[in-house]
């Protein structure tokens, strides 16, 4: 088991190397003078020269890369022009907000998509099947930012059910004592049900928006792989052996159908991490997505670079986890 984990880790290393190289190159291909980009639009020539020396932009490319890597190893992602804070610290502070939102969205999506996909496969042609296909096609066609805006309009402006989209908590509540920085968990740990409800109501709409977005591919793949599993030879054997319907569906078909779904989770995460940025903008959610977007508008490049790198590393870690999970479920994967 450990051997498999190590070998999977081994495959992640080239990806990490590639990511570091790409993020390095991205900043070096900036049109115009890289130094003035990092110095900002209102910097004086002396400031630009200083930044240039600081970033080592007068050195050769390999030397620059060496400095970049050693900076990364020390955890130095540069400094934000807007706030003057080290980028790494700002990202670390804002990461829990994004994580809470994304995880809630994903959880919601899985809880709806998987049962729906299975039911649609079991009852082909029924209303569940049609609903599944409509939601899938619509979910894939709707721009996530548009869904968010519509949700705000309907649930906040028209119906007044949701609070105003101003962030993680409304003006009257204060953050619970920080343990995980996940407001939902922290408020529960502190026994503060008022804050919990406040955080939940702020979280509801953005999480729902993300969930709808992730629902479409998940439901589609669940339905398709369940149909394929039900059509396979070993199900025919199970039926011919007289196994009860529930055993056939749950123990035999479902577990096999879940394999492609787990594999697809990687792709779903890719979409989610991207959609996260858009949803954070719509709902003014103080996560790393909106951090990067604000920095972009202000032509502040260090946070953008740090954001891209962080997201990539997170994604590699997530894929590794999915790989390991798959290895646990599918005995054939161990055979290499």
């Amino acid at each position: 088991m450990l051997r498999i984990a190590l070998s999977r880790l081994g495959t992640a290393v080239p990806s990490l190397v590639g990511v570091v190289i790409v993020t390095f190159l991205l900043t070096r291909v900036l049109p115009g003078d890289t130094a003035s980009y990092f110095a900002g639009p209102v910097a004086s020539p002396e400031a630009i020269a200083q930044i240039k020396a600081q970033l080592g932009l007068d050195q050769t490319l390999p030397v620059q890369f060496g400095r970049y890597v050693s900076d990364l190893a020390r955890g130095d992602l540069g400094t934000s022009l807007g706030t003057g804070q080290p980028v790494l610290r700002e990202i670390a502070t804002r990461l829990p907000a994004s994580a809470e939102l994304t995880l809630c969205g994903l959880l919601l999506a899985v809880l709806v998509a998987v049962p729906m996909g299975i039911l649609a496969a079991l009852r082909q042609g029924s209303w569940v099947d049609h609903l599944c296909r409509v939601l899938t096609t619509a979910g894939v066609s709707l721009p996530v930012f548009f869904t968010g805006l519509l949700a705000v309009y309907v649930f906040y402006f028209l119906l007044g059910w949701a609070p105003s989209p101003l962030g993680r908590l409304d003006a009257f509540s204060s953050a619970p004592p920080a343990v995980t920085n996940f407001y939902l968990i922290d408020s529960l740990l502190a026994g503060d049900s008022e804050t919990f409800l406040a955080a939940l109501s702020q979280l509801a709409l953005p999480a729902l928006t993300l969930a709808l977005f992730a629902l479409a591919p998940l439901a589609r793949i669940t339905r398709a792989s369940m149909l394929a599993a039900l059509d396979s030879d070993f199900i025919r054997t199970a039926r011919a052996s007289g196994l009860a319907g529930r055993t056939v569906v749950v123990t035999y078909a479902f577990r096999n159908a879940m394999l492609p779904v787990v594999t697809t989770l990687g792709m779903v995460f890719s979409f989610l991490l991207g959609a996260n940025v858009l949803v954070e903008k719509v709902f003014a959610w103080p996560g790393i997505g909106s951090y990067a977007v604000e920095a972009l508008i202000a032509s502040d490049f260090a946070p953008v670079q740090g954001f891209v790198l962080t997201m990539a590393i997170l994604y590699i870690a997530l894929n590794l986890a999915i790989d390991l999970l798959y290895g646990l479920i599918d005995p054939r994967a161990k055979a290499g």
Binding site: T27, P143, L149, F157, F271, V277, V308, M311
Partner: protein, 297 residues
């Protein structure tokens, strides 16, 4: 389970394209949804080509006296904060959005498709290099990478096209590679070698034509994705700049008015986005049914 001999169903003399067209007509007739998406596509292309000359108002003409007017007889979709007619802007934006999508897809099909086919068919170093490249791109969440590329290269339409193509490269390379791999050792490919066809010739005349239908399905779906990608980038301020009409920035501009109840500024461009993407997705699904009925979803 039952194997009906071919003699049971005699057919007139067919040709390859005639065959495909007849099958296509059969599917379209039995599948009104696909036929509908086809018509929708024609409508959208019409808007893109002829729209700007047929719209009632100049998409750029602002008129502050008529700002933020709800939909009415003179302005079917209302006006935005600068008094510009939203209907005209939405139609005019069709050309830009469809254009971006079209060129991105063409680029990624040419580069990614060929790279994938070569990697699958020849194996060895070609496969390793293409694989490394695809893996490196896939290590990023795709939209984040697109953001990074456009941020680094600058806010132009060309760069959006480039970013979208880069981000979709691994998918096309992987599909093309998979298909080429499956067909590389197929009996008829071996037979083609026996008939004196060289490797390059087999790649171009035997493998590629058999892969095209599946790639066509993927291209249709990617068109939808490319439109969403461009719109998303514009929404966060990367990409197309105002005052150019583009669905994404129009939604962004309308976002601030939604909370105060002026819903029309953001709704109509958003619906246009939805319609276009929906059309391409339906078309892709319909093409998949024509091309490979076993993979129906």
């Amino acid at each position: 389970m039952t194997d009906m001999p071919a003699e049971a169903f005699p057919l007139p003399r067919p040709s390859a394209t005639g065959n495909l067209l007849r099958h296509a007509r059969h599917v379209l007739a039995g599948n009104p949804v696909t036929a509908f998406s086809f018509l929708l596509l024609l409508f959208l292309v019409g808007c893109a080509l002829l729209g700007p000359s047929l719209v009632p108002y100049d998409p750029q003409a602002s008129n502050s006296m008529r700002a933020l007017q709800p939909p009415s007889a003179q302005h079917l979709f209302g006006t935005d904060q600068l008094g510009r007619d939203i209907l005209s802007r939405v139609v005019a934006a069709t050309r830009l959005d469809l254009g971006i999508a079209f060129f991105s897809v063409a680029l990624v099909f040419a580069v990614g498709g060929l790279a994938g086919v070569a990697a699958g068919f020849f194996g060895g170093w070609t496969d390793r290099i293409v694989g490394r490249l695809a893996d490196t791109i896939m290590a990023f969440p795709l939209f984040v990478l697109a953001m990074g590329v456009v941020a680094a290269l600058g806010n132009t339409v060309t760069n959006i096209v480039l970013a979208t193509a880069i981000v979709n490269f691994p998918l096309y390379a992987r599909i093309a590679r998979g298909e080429a791999l499956v067909r590389r050792e197929a009996g008829y490919v071996q037979a083609a070698r026996l008939c004196g066809n060289g490797e390059m010739r087999i790649l171009l005349t035997t493998i590629l034509p058999n892969i095209l239908p599946i790639m066509a399905v993927q291209m249709s779906l990617t068109m939808g994705y490319a439109i969403l990608n461009a719109a998303g980038l514009s929404f966060i301020g990367l990409g197309v700049r105002p005052p150019t009409p583009e669905w994404g920035i129009m939604v962004a501009e309308g976002a601030s008015f939604i909370v105060s109840g002026e819903w029309w500024v953001a709704l109509f461009p958003g619906l246009a986005l939805m319609l276009a993407v929906f059309c391409f997705n339906l078309l892709g699904d319909g093409l998949r049914d024509i091309v490979d009925p076993q993979r129906r979803t």
